[in-house]
Symmetry: C2
Subunit: 345 residues, 2 copies
Amino acid sequence: MSTVAPRLRFRDAQIEMAHGAGGKASRRLVEGLIAPLLLGPNAAELSDAAGVSVNGASLAMTADSFVVKPLRFPGGSIGELAVNGTVNDLAVAAAKPEALVVTYVIEAGLPTEELEAEVRAMAGAAARAGVAIVGGDTKVVEHGKADRMYITTAGIGSPLPGVVLSPRTVRPGDVVMVSGPVGDHGITILLARGELEIEATLASDTRSVFPFVEALAKAAAPGLRWMRDPTRGGVATSLNELARDARLAVILREDSIPVRDPVRGACELLGLDPLHIANEGQFLAVVAPEYAEAALDAIRRAGCHEAAIIGEIREQPAATLLGATAYGGTRVIDMLVGDPLPRIC
Amino acid sequence: MSTVAPRLRFRDAQIEMAHGAGGKASRRLVEGLIAPLLLGPNAAELSDAAGVSVNGASLAMTADSFVVKPLRFPGGSIGELAVNGTVNDLAVAAAKPEALVVTYVIEAGLPTEELEAEVRAMAGAAARAGVAIVGGDTKVVEHGKADRMYITTAGIGSPLPGVVLSPRTVRPGDVVMVSGPVGDHGITILLARGELEIEATLASDTRSVFPFVEALAKAAAPGLRWMRDPTRGGVATSLNELARDARLAVILREDSIPVRDPVRGACELLGLDPLHIANEGQFLAVVAPEYAEAALDAIRRAGCHEAAIIGEIREQPAATLLGATAYGGTRVIDMLVGDPLPRIC
């Protein structure tokens, strides 16, 4: 703990929904207030899995709270998100998920069957992800002091051998890939709320990405530079962070990014960019060019049939995410601003 | 994960405040529904720190959510509770707290200064406890969907050498000790709510108990059988669990249990038993009789000046907590039933 009081840059008078949306406002809150106080000036980002050494063993550790609304939606529920979200934070830190702990904050009056459904969903997701749930806690608050239930999971994992991930290892010429179609989760939640006059066959992509990460690491460990699961804030926010942290340009070939028709349609209707929509079962990877083919092949064979190379790293314009169209145009793609889709996970 | 569907004994139709109070109803929910589904039939209790092996290293892992109301009270605040609570769960599992992760669920509209105060409180408590906060997450829910903020902490620790804790190692003749006065935290919260016409000089006991546990382990490791931090449900609930799990009797000498006057007074006024009131900076230990004096001396010298031997283990009546008065009378002391003090931590 530093004895020098950190300078806090966060000046907003109160906390708003956008501070939890995963985009620019979240960054400002975490980097301007929480991380400097809790983690000190040289902190890694609060949202990443952290490396910890205990009893001579290296491990990764992470935690996430889940407040998604509604609790259940096509393709999953809060319980599955809570397991897969923490599993995926470990996976993209190149750690094999080993154990989870779980806590529930429950609103008094919740029907037991709703709790039971989520506990069962968590047990199933944990079994599918090959991770043990080893403990936890339950709190109950008065009716009206929570929205049915909030779930928090924390997890530890063991580092995959031979993988060193850091934006500092990213080089011009490196290749950017995504494991599958983007935006399914966020648009599914939006539709599940029933506030839109849109009918679409779409389901959340919630799943553990660890099997794909493991296959990728086996095929391309020496060339694997960076990974991230683009949840809140979407692909655009994750890649903006990469561009900023690496001080390089990330250039996307926009027509190579897989987006399902219902996601594209809903986004057009709502004026949203699919690259800002949350995913819960996809990951981004940056790979050295000589490993790109092997890497893509490995994650496709592991089950990500729609995985694609979507862009590359360049020197300039530094710290910028650019989208390039097939017609030769480019646009600067910003992080998510505001909170168009609250409580998405 | 067992493939045999567990039989669920929990039959309540909905979740009520008492299910989060740490007493009998909490037991029924955890043991009758959550633990069988998540942890399998041979699960340790969900509320304890669990032993995990990662990369060849043994460690302990635990998580707790904190929903205390009000956020700040004499002697501490939700931030300090959130650090010390998880630190203490590790400590009483005979593990040295190594790293924490923290998540916030924040109600939109919370003044930033309230969040900042709790983040600072956590940083201070972590520094005092010698534990690193290494990561976390922040979610925001709409105004009216949380009560200011809820905090969850998860922690890992490294086992103290030479200590094997289990109710199964407890033997008749073993000695029960407590680290200090009981009930300070719970009554402090009750008074801080201002719903009672009582004025009292009292503060929460929230603190890390690890230094005392470490001193105890150094002095008495081979004779140390069992420890617990008697939070929700108090000393009576923890010792009932011990009696039940060990299939032995725990006999308390009631006049030897340290209770401050304001706690005793408030309890008398409210018809509460100090043994049911939550503590956040005390622990219970069961020690073999030949180590009792050294153990008590060690935790007193480490700073628990009011630590006391409060009872002993006997064969009969099995699975029962008995209180014995100075006049020779005895009473059966039950676990906490209902929820007289909601949202105490």
